[in-house]
Symmetry: C2
Subunit: 400 residues, 2 copies
């Protein structure tokens, strides 16, 4: 711009140019960045998300007007530019992480609890309580592509839908809470969905998970002990019941919060699983699905999350012991560190190669960032009652 500094006319022009092109300049400044190190933090109470980056560990901005974000989750577009946020109130919001603007928002149901994005990134799926079912939206336009009512029984009842995940082969898998069913939807052709239904999987499935390779879908049961496993490579084999003693058991222990199954984790050949109602993390062998060990913990585990290299597992706990995080060393099954981030640790998210973990501490209004090698605090960022933390690397993962 130095060329404009000599002479009156150029000075005038310079002012004019600034006025007209300020918006353009600011776009250019915002835009010149990669999106591989971005993420969002849900500020649940005020309907906003913070946009953050993990290279310099800073807050870039915020986007508001997203409605009720209690229990909100998010997925990302395959180019890692857009976040799709699923709100409790049935709102589906598309956020541009570069311009930091709300691109579009649709209220797609009365009450929703989660979503997923298809393998090719072109379909966003939302699971709904009221009315019970799954809706598919075009990821570019957020236009409704398909409505899958979760009808069951002979009176046309509709069930709440839980445990929705994406799977390889353009599939979505989810379970019907009231019906005790798991459905596999093949969305390869969006104009002719193929739905396969598995009935009598067990009473009141309340959440589901898919293994990181996208092969096994497992639903947790609220109405009885045990879990329902579906091998997506061998659908004809149907549902298999595993872990017959997993659950609340005969004694109906006081369970402060049913653990998230998303919080199950695989490290090497072992699965680390929150026990229900016990102060324990259970260890299972992948493939055989047999319990091989248990690790006593500080409280009832909620999220049991593996560092991406599988060497450590980080655990947070249910109320009232939710001020603590414990770190398990995988080969020895020992707890090697107990951290006290503050009151109401709600969620944790690792950077994709695992050198950092971000921990939301709701009642302290901050997000703590830890170095996972030294297990020490690197930095805290201010956030209004933060809950879920989601990094764009999820766009590259099956089932996230």
């Amino acid at each position: 711009m130095t060329r404009f500094r000599s002479g009156y006319l150029w000075a005038r022009l310079s002012v004019l140019l600034s006025l007209f092109f300020l918006p353009l300049l600011s776009v250019a400044q915002t835009a010149l960045r990669g999106t591989g190190d971005l993420g969002i933090i849900i500020e649940r109470a005020i309907g906003e998300v913070l946009i953050v980056e993990t290279s310099g560990q800073t807050i870039l901005g915020k986007v508001g007007g997203l409605g009720d974000l209690s229990h909100a989750t998010a997925v990302f577009s395959r180019d890692e530019r857009y976040a799709f946020v699923f709100g409790r109130d049935g709102g589906l919001s598309k956020i541009d992480l570069l311009s930091m603007k709300l691109v579009k928002r649709v209220i797609q149901s009365g009450n929703s609890i989660g979503g997923a994005i298809s393998q090719d990134g072109r379909l966003v799926a939302v699971s709904n309580y009221t009315p019970g079912g799954v809706k598919l939206f075009d990821a570019a336009s957020l236009k409704l592509v398909a409505d899958i009512p979760a009808t069951y029984g002979d009176k046309g009842q509709r069930s709440k839908v839980i445990g929705l995940v994406d799977a390889p082969g353009m599939k979505f898998v989810f379970s019907l809470y009231d019906a005790g069913e798991t459905w596999v939807v093949d969305a390869s052709d969006r104009t002719a969905l193929k739905i396969r239904k598995f009935k009598n999987i067990g009473r009141l499935p309340y959440d589901g998970l898919i293994t990181p390779d996208g092969r096994y879908y497992i639903a947790g049961l609220f109405g009885e002990d045990g879990m329902a496993l579906l091998d997506l490579w061998h659908l004809d084999a149907g549902i298999k019941r595993i872990l017959p003693h997993y659950g609340r058991g005969e004694k109906k222990l006081p369970v402060y919060k049913m653990p998230h199954l998303e919080g199950w984790t695989q490290a090497g050949n072992e699965l680390f699983v929150p026990a229900v109602g016990h102060h324990e993390v259970l260890v299972m062998r992948a493939g055989s699905w047999q319990q091989t060990g248990k690790i006593p913990t500080y409280g009832q585990p909620i999220f049991v999350m593996s560092r991406p290299d599988g060497r450590q597992v980080w655990v947070n706990f249910a109320h009232p012991l939710n001020d603590t995080v414990q770190i398990i060393d995988v080969p020895s099954h020992r707890i090697i560190k107990t951290l006290k981030p503050g009151k109401a640790v709600l969620h944790m998210e690792f950077t994709p190669r695992g050198e950092q973990v971000w921990v939301s501490v709701r009642d302290a209004n901050r997000v703590n960032i830890y170095d996972t090698a030294t297990m020490t605090l690197l930095k805290s960022l201010p956030a209004d009652a933060p809950s879920g933390i989601f990094f764009t690397a999820r766009a590259n993962k099956i089932g996230l």
Copy 2:
């Protein structure tokens, strides 16, 4: 811009504005995109890379002036904006995928063969033949941070360095071809590197790999059969020899090209490994490292690559049978498809969630894109003698 269309003065101004701001406008247009779906294709003969995107499967542009790109590889910055390309001539080039410009290029040795990027994305490492050693560069500036000469023996000889990978805990691992050693460098403190050396690993290690979790480093041996395994979780256990019959064997079979170890692949608990000199893919059990099967193939396998969900393994072959790709179904170990992409299939890269695979066909001057579910050709893109294909999702992976 419609406001400028009325009146002579505005028309004049509009022309002026266009002239001065054209560069700025083009920056803004280039910049407004995510980087999660980008990649590069090496055009080996003309020292250029194509910049591509996998959502619409198009070529966005190209960057030239990169020197000798035979056998070139690349890694990506953690924000997925920059590619670091390692050329055969010792050139290290940093490319901006958004502006599609060469940011910086340094000739850092006489002859180099590969590189890696640290867990935190701040250090780029290059392994060199001449003079033998590893150099570390600051990823932002490409300034030299550390020089690690690969000296060995009692006369201060220097060895060629091969099999360089990054590992969790800010480590780099590589092997010394002439010395038969593996070194582990802890770069947590870039001003005080810690180096641990493992000697007598076997004769003439020619390549190395690290398992996807970053735990096991395995070097292949050119001078004898068998391989050298290092468990990075238990360094004190030292090098363990595995697969005693893996290699060229007593009969010294005609080996057209030693298979890349990067081409080893893990699908579930099984490793699929190219046999040396045989028309076979070997199957091994991870952990026990015992061979459990073998699959007859069309030619001598070079890259044996797992689709990200581990359901399929795609294989290409050595000259003169390098016009073919075969697809193995993992659970049945059967070849379910034989494709003929054209002469000189050199490399394959899956999109991170596995719905597409891009295949470079050097002598046909094109890259073929396949739908992995239907195993059919989606599209071909023109490219000048393409070799390596690298997508930005590698930024999020350990050891890539």
